[in-house]
């Protein structure tokens, strides 16, 4: 096979099934919960693709399909009061961290029942009650915001952690340098998770990035680094747990580079002139959902009947969210300037 994005030992994920697994991933409920989260993200995103094609969703949509194991694997280790910063491709992070599904769907529709009351849309979903400090339309903007959340935790002497999700496109931004240096010098409880999905918008990482092993960027800042097969959920859980535990114990930040592949285009409808169909098809052989199904079967935790059952349940959940969004109202025009400030500004107009 032509593996364009992983080193040899990650091929098809078979070898990596043999790595020592987290103890509780032998547990049926924990494993199935993670499986449901993977499915929920996949189904949510595929549903959005279909709705977008029907013209039901304004704006544009960036889907997380193919990368689900990273968000689910990392967030499995988090508490509700831990923070995540996210990207323009943020639905998966939000779902993995526990955002309300109806509120998320309604936000993507631009409805008043949306989690951000229709002000943000797909690229700006957030749920501060769940520690989700927002998806962000500016690449790598979350890195410096995560540093601030880490500083806040340290100042308040709490034991929360911050996960900063960003991408291989983001890793070339100056904010990454500024944030990593600061988090490292202050030993802030921040875990940088770089999702290496091979493309910065429409441009290959290989054309734009000075090193092929992105984890060496962390070495430059005196940080711990980890590399992981981002399509292998169990590996992501293991590796990110180490980084999260270290952060919680005050040992400072880690850069985790999770290799993966963006199955969809940059946005839904992207003609993808910059890559071949073969490349995409080849990558789909390492679908994180299939790899985890293999794992569950191999360890006798679930079988294909169980998978079908879970898929049905998740589909119903997502369909209910679509109905909720479709039946919700749009925000009223006279509320367009609500939420600009915390108080009324007289003489502003």
């Amino acid at each position: 096979m032509v593996d364009i994005w992983l080193s040899d030992d990650h091929e098809l994920g078979i070898a990596s099934l043999e790595v020592p697994v987290a103890v509780d991933f032998k547990d049926i409920e924990t494993s199935l919960e993670a499986y449901r989260k993977l499915l929920l993200i996949r189904t949510f995103e595929e549903t959005l693709e279909a709705l977008f094609a029907k013209g039901k969703i304004p704006g544009f949509v960036h889907t997380y399909i193919g990368q689900e194991a990273i968000a689910v694997g990392v967030c499995t280790n988090l508490r509700t009061d831990d923070y995540v910063t996210s990207t323009h491709r943020g639905h998966g992070h939000a779902i993995a961290k526990g955002i309300d599904l109806n509120g998320l769907m309604a936000e993507v529709f631009g409805k008043v029942t949306g989690i951000c009351k229709g002000r943000g849309g797909s690229m700006h979903v957030a749920d501060f009650s769940k520690g989700i400090l927002g998806a962000n339309g500016i690449v790598a903007a979350g890195t410096v915001i995560a540093a601030g959340a880490g500083l806040s935790i340290q100042t308040r002497e709490e034991d929360q952690v911050v996960i900063c999700f960003f991408g291989d496109g983001g890793i070339n931004k100056g904010t990454v340098h500024e944030a990593m240096n600061f988090c490292s010098v202050k030993k802030l409880p921040v875990v940088f998770v770089c999702e290496n999905n091979q493309y910065a918008q429409f441009t290959s990482r290989k054309l734009t990035t000075s090193v092929s092993d992105l984890s060496v960027r962390g070495v430059a800042y005196g940080m711990s680094t980890e590399s992981v097969d981002g399509n292998n959920l169990v590996e992501v859980v293991e590796v990110s747990r180490r980084a999260i535990d270290n952060a919680r114990e005050g040992l400072g930040p880690t850069l985790v580079v999770a290799d993966t592949y963006r199955f969809g285009g940059h946005y839904v409808g992207d003609p993808q002139a910059y890559r071949s169909e073969d490349e995409v098809n080849e990558s789909r052989r390492r679908d994180p959902l299939l790899l985890f199904e293999n794992y569950l079967e191999l360890h006798g935790l679930a079988d294909s009947d169980r998978f079908e059952l879970e898929k049905e349940t998740i589909s119903k959940l997502v369909n209910k969210a679509v109905m909720f969004a479709e039946q919700s109202d749009y925000p009223e025009a006279h509320t367009a300037t609500d939420y600009v400030f915390t108080d009324l500004i007289e003489g502003r107009q």
Binding site: I115, G120, V144, A146, G148, S152, T155, V340, T342
Partner: protein, 325 residues
């Protein structure tokens, strides 16, 4: 009343806020040693390095981390030495701080203060002499404060730190060393309330920051040499804007000159002039004039710097054009 400098007045406001509320922290460039204008003097000694943080010269980090801290329980004051340095963090100010509350549907507020020194001071050159309040005022979601004297500097900074929205607090270099009467007790000056720095009947000078001082000097000259009685309206905060005080004054004098050190073209003065026209067009005795810098980077060489940036004499000239057609 005792007299202290603008910089010292801001130290008092910061220290009072930090004593009252443990979540107030100050971060930025060169805080610990006291700052270029003594505006942080003594804070490190009193509050320690956990709350008074010397940051790397990483402007995006300084302002981005302030946003992250502000939405997770702190009230950061983030300081950049010169306002030009905010240009390295415009994403954090414009796309993050200003928009968080709105784009997340009111889930959070962003209680942070951005402090920066602006304006001309003795040949600081093109990248250390400018005034950017027009950028900040243009952005929905930011409040903008530009005090003109030590007493206001103290009260307005105290209110800015209290405020639940991001506030850009601009401290003009030329007046940061200047002294003035400042009450010793802790007090707040509300944002969005202009002050009448001088009452007059013939013309309204609408201004803020250092130009308030120049306008007051101009008013003295106008009275003594031209028998023109000028009223000086010091806006103090640009957002929120106290347009009512402006309109009241101009309705009385029927003439207005809007003065600032920033460039005239596309400047904040255009907003004021336009609002005066919208509300009082039929009552004006003369067109509203603007006094500001010429459209060029602020030059290094002293005569060029002086040629570009207005002081009291330019204000006098403009007023004479409105009163003697």
């Amino acid at each position: 009343m005792r007299s202290i400098s603008f910089g010292q007045a801001t130290v008092e406001a910061t220290a009072a806020a930090m004593r009252e509320d443990d979540t107030v922290v100050i971060t930025g460039e060169d805080i610990g040693w006291g700052g270029n204008f003594g505006q942080f003097k003594g804070l490190l000694e009193e509050f320690g390095p956990k709350r008074v943080l010397d940051m790397p010269i990483s402007e995006a980090l300084i302002l981005g981390s302030a946003v992250g801290a502000a939405v997770t329980g702190l009230r950061p004051i983030a300081s950049l030495s010169f306002v030009e340095f905010t240009m390295g963090a415009m994403d954090e100010i414009v796309n993050q701080a200003a928009k968080f509350r709105y784009m997340f549907g009111g889930q959070v507020s962003v209680p942070m203060v951005v402090r920066a020194s602006d304006g001309v001071l003795r040949s600081s050159g093109p990248q250390h002499s400018e005034s950017f309040e027009a950028f900040f005022s243009h952005m929905p979601g930011l409040k903008v404060v530009a005090p003109s004297n030590p007493a206001d500097a103290k009260g307005l900074l105290r209110s800015a730190i209290d405020d639940d929205d991001p506030v850009v607090y601009l401290e003009n270099k030329k007046i940061t060393f200047r002294r003035g009467p400042v009450p010793e007790e802790d007090y707040r000056t509300a944002l969005g309330q202009a002050s009448i720095a001088r009452t007059g009947s013939d013309v309204s000078l609408i201004t803020y920051s250092v130009m308030t001082q120049h306008a007051l000097e101009a008013a003295q000259v106008l009275l003594e040499e031209h028998s023109v009685d000028a009223e000086v309206v010091d806006l103090r905060s640009l957002v929120p804007l106290d347009i009512d005080s402006v309109l009241r004054s101009v309705a009385k004098t029927r003439r207005a000159v809007v003065c600032h050190e920033a460039w005239t073209f596309g400047g904040f003065g255009a907003e004021i002039a336009s609002q005066i026209n919208e509300h009082l067009f039929g009552e004006l005795a003369a067109p509203v004039l603007r006094v500001g810098a010429q459209s060029a980077p602020i030059a290094f060489s002293p005569p060029l710097e002086r040629a570009l940036v207005p002081e009291a004499s330019e204000v006098v000239q403009a007023v004479l054009r409105t009163v003697k057609p």
